[in-house]
């Protein structure tokens, strides 16, 4: 039994090391002065701690801009998604109307379509509207989410009808009932969806690459890539510092909301 425990722990530790090694290497490089970066031997700890890379990333580079862009875009997307998926999911879960079956099937069908398929038409629409290279171009295409509608619909179905009826008897309007009586009951599902949405759009590379050309509008992953190519890959230290700064907000958010995150994954595992 104990031997098994040790073996299991060793296996897990090995997996953990493999996954963490790139991050450790990134941290290590970001803290080294330039002359320590290209050396034949491997040293994780810098001989001389150097924070100049961070200063450079923040002042000369655009790390701050990337983080702010990331926050604006992910939060903008999230707020719009909540505003659209909550009513849509509620109607699909609770109302009987003629086209419900068809609309629900459409939502499910959209789940199967990869975003790359619609990329070109959406790009052209944004171009027509002269919205390319703006926040709007990054946010509007993701203003709603088929996955979110589906996930939330399943949760809304579990809210007891009596609760909604009680609110009606007490004089709450339907919209008020939805947002202040029903939505609080499905908070775990909303949080789970929020986490997925933020992680997805923070890390999204494909869409920003298409619609953003100026570095001032770049989201974090696109920013790193622009930074890397513009520097010609020579300023490894500054690049790693930028990468560290960009990864930080998500890592910190994850550490704070670790429990919810795991709950969210389990929840979507059951319901999604």
């Amino acid at each position: 039994m104990r031997l098994r425990n040790i073996l299991v722990n060793l296996a897990l530790a090995a997996g953990g090391i493999v996954m963490l090694l790139p991050f450790v290497w990134m941290l290590s490089l970001s803290l080294k002065p330039e002359n320590e970066i290209f050396t034949p031997d491997i040293a994780f700890l810098p001989r001389e701690w150097d924070f100049a890379n961070y200063v450079e990333a923040w002042t000369v580079g655009y790390a701050g801009t990337f983080v702010i862009n990331g926050i604006v875009v992910t939060l903008g997307i999230l707020v719009l998604q909540y505003l659209t998926i909550v009513p849509a999911a509620y109607v699909l879960a609770r109302k009987r109307f003629q086209l419900r079956g068809l609309i629900m099937s459409t939502v499910l069908a959209v789940l199967l379509i990869p975003p790359q398929v619609t990329a070109i038409p959406v790009y052209m629409m944004l171009a027509e509207a002269r919205l390319l290279d703006t926040y709007a171009a990054l946010i509007i295409p993701f203003a709603t989410s088929a996955f979110g509608i589906f996930l939330l619909r399943q949760s809304f179905k579990t809210v007891p009808q009596d609760l909604i009826d009680a609110a009606r008897m007490d004089g709450a309007s339907e919209v008020y009932t939805l947002w202040f009586v029903v939505v609080p009951q499905v908070f775990p599902a909303l949080a789970a969806f929020g986490i997925f949405s933020v992680v997805t759009h923070w890390n999204d590379f494909f869409w920003p690459l298409l619609v953003v050309t100026s570095i001032e509008r770049a989201t974090p992953p696109l920013g790193i890539s622009i930074f890397a190519s513009s520097e010609g890959g020579t300023e490894v230290g500054a690049m790693m510092a930028t990468a560290t700064l960009i990864v930080m907000p998500l890592v910190i958010a994850f550490l704070i909301a670790r429990r919810r995150f795991v709950e969210g994954v389990t929840l979507s595992g059951i319901k999604g």
């Binding site: 009826d165 009606r168 609080p184």
Partner: protein
């Protein structure tokens, strides 16, 4: 005090008629139970009165005015749900205050924005001044800061009652409010609801499938089956003078014994047993000849007798229930289970398996025709 009247109310879901042609007048201040087996339409009827379901046909009036077109909250009706339907994310105080909060302006209803409203404190104080006495009356004033999940079943029930009372409605609707409580608490809460009704003096409509609950609580009972009213009357009316076999079988515990009676002049046969010297009149009706009838005999309408009595039937006792003040004998006769209520001393010395003889007490028998309708003297006379 406002009563409510239903005029030929029907409800249809798709192809199913759930409520059919129900007419009913409830006077102000009455406590009326809607009783029936599950699926009889009693809850649907209640929900139509509440405004949670539309009415397919007919009219619902309150205080002389039709209310069908009004939204549930505009009807000034409160409802206690079977599941209590407390808002899980709100405290007890917030739950009870919710109907009052909903009467305020839009901004005051919103969770964060309300802090911007200057007269918020005055409004909050007014709401508290109405919530507190209700919580005090129901003995939940020490629980106001808790969430529903931290309450016991009985406490949740009181919160649901408080939330219904706080608006001072003209009509209380209750949908099986006791069914989630354990037996002991149920009896206590039953008494409390009766007390509450007396104190508030408003009209109560109470849905239940438990005939004992309906019998003990209500001034009148409306017995429904398959969406139709079977009988309306006081509890004793329904017990002593049921309109049909369904009512007779639904009301009363232990259940009424129903035997097949074939009367033929002086002789009669009950479930094939020949009875000599039939009484000339049963249930106030001259014993009809040659007809296939049902006779309903409540457990107290059967008496133990000697086996040579002309109307004696017999069978082996298989269960004896000693209840202290009385005893219930369950006797197997053919495939039927006959219930006889006897004095406690009559049951002493009996043991399961002993054969006993019993006879109907004809003066307490109820007579039904082959379709299950009650044969009443007046109706027969009217027909003749």
């Amino acid at each position: 005090m406002t009563g409510i009247s239903l005029n030929a109310v029907s409800k249809r879901f798709g192809a199913t008629d759930v409520v059919r042609d129900v007419s009913l007048d409830v006077a102000g201040g009455e406590f009326v139970s809607l009783l029936g087996p599950s699926g009889c339409g009693k809850t649907t009827l209640l929900r139509m009165i509440a405004g949670l379901e539309t009415v397919t046909a007919g009219e619902i009036c309150m205080g002389g005015e039709t209310i069908q077109h009004l939204s549930p909250s505009a009807r000034n009706i409160a409802m206690v749900f079977q599941s209590y339907a407390l808002y899980p994310h709100k405290t007890v105080f917030e739950n009870v205050a919710f109907p009052l909060l909903m009467q305020q302006s839009m901004v005051l209803r919103l969770p964060w924005l309300r802090h911007l409203v200057p007269n918020r404190h005055r409004v909050d104080a007014e709401i508290a001044a109405r919530v507190d006495p209700v919580c005090h009356l129901l003995g939940i004033d020490h629980l106001t800061a808790r969430k529903p999940a931290q309450l016991s079943g009985g406490q949740r029930q009181r919160v649901a009652l408080a939330r219904a009372m706080v608006r001072e409605p003209k009509l209380f609707l209750m949908d099986e409010p006791l069914s989630n409580l354990d037996a002991k608490l149920r009896a206590a809460t039953r008494a409390e609801i009766i007390d509450l009704h007396r104190r508030l003096g408003v009209t109560f409509l109470y849905v239940t499938h438990d005939q004992g609950e309906a019998m003990t609580m209500s001034s009148r009972i409306v017995l429904l089956n398959e969406g139709r009213i079977q009988q309306v009357g006081t509890p004793l009316d329904l017990y002593n003078d049921p309109a049909n076999l369904f009512v007779a079988e639904f009301i009363g515990l232990p259940k009424i014994n129903v035997l097949d009676l074939h009367a033929d002049g002086k002789e009669g046969r009950i479930d094939g047993i020949v009875l000599r010297e039939m009484p000339s009149e049963i249930d106030g009706v001259p014993t009809p000849r040659g007809a296939q009838l049902h006779v309903g005999l409540r457990p107290e309408a059967l008496q133990l007798c000697s086996e040579d009595h002309p109307h004696a039937m017999s069978g082996p006792v298989h269960i004896i229930e000693h209840l202290g003040n009385e005893a219930i004998l369950r006797v197997s006769k053919d495939a039927k289970d006959i219930c006889i209520r006897v004095q406690p001393e009559q049951a002493i010395g009996l043991s399961p398996g002993r054969t006993v003889s019993f006879r109907p007490a004809w003066e307490r028998a109820l007579l039904f025709d082959a379709n299950g309708s009650r044969l009443r003297a007046t109706r027969l006379r009217a027909a003749a």
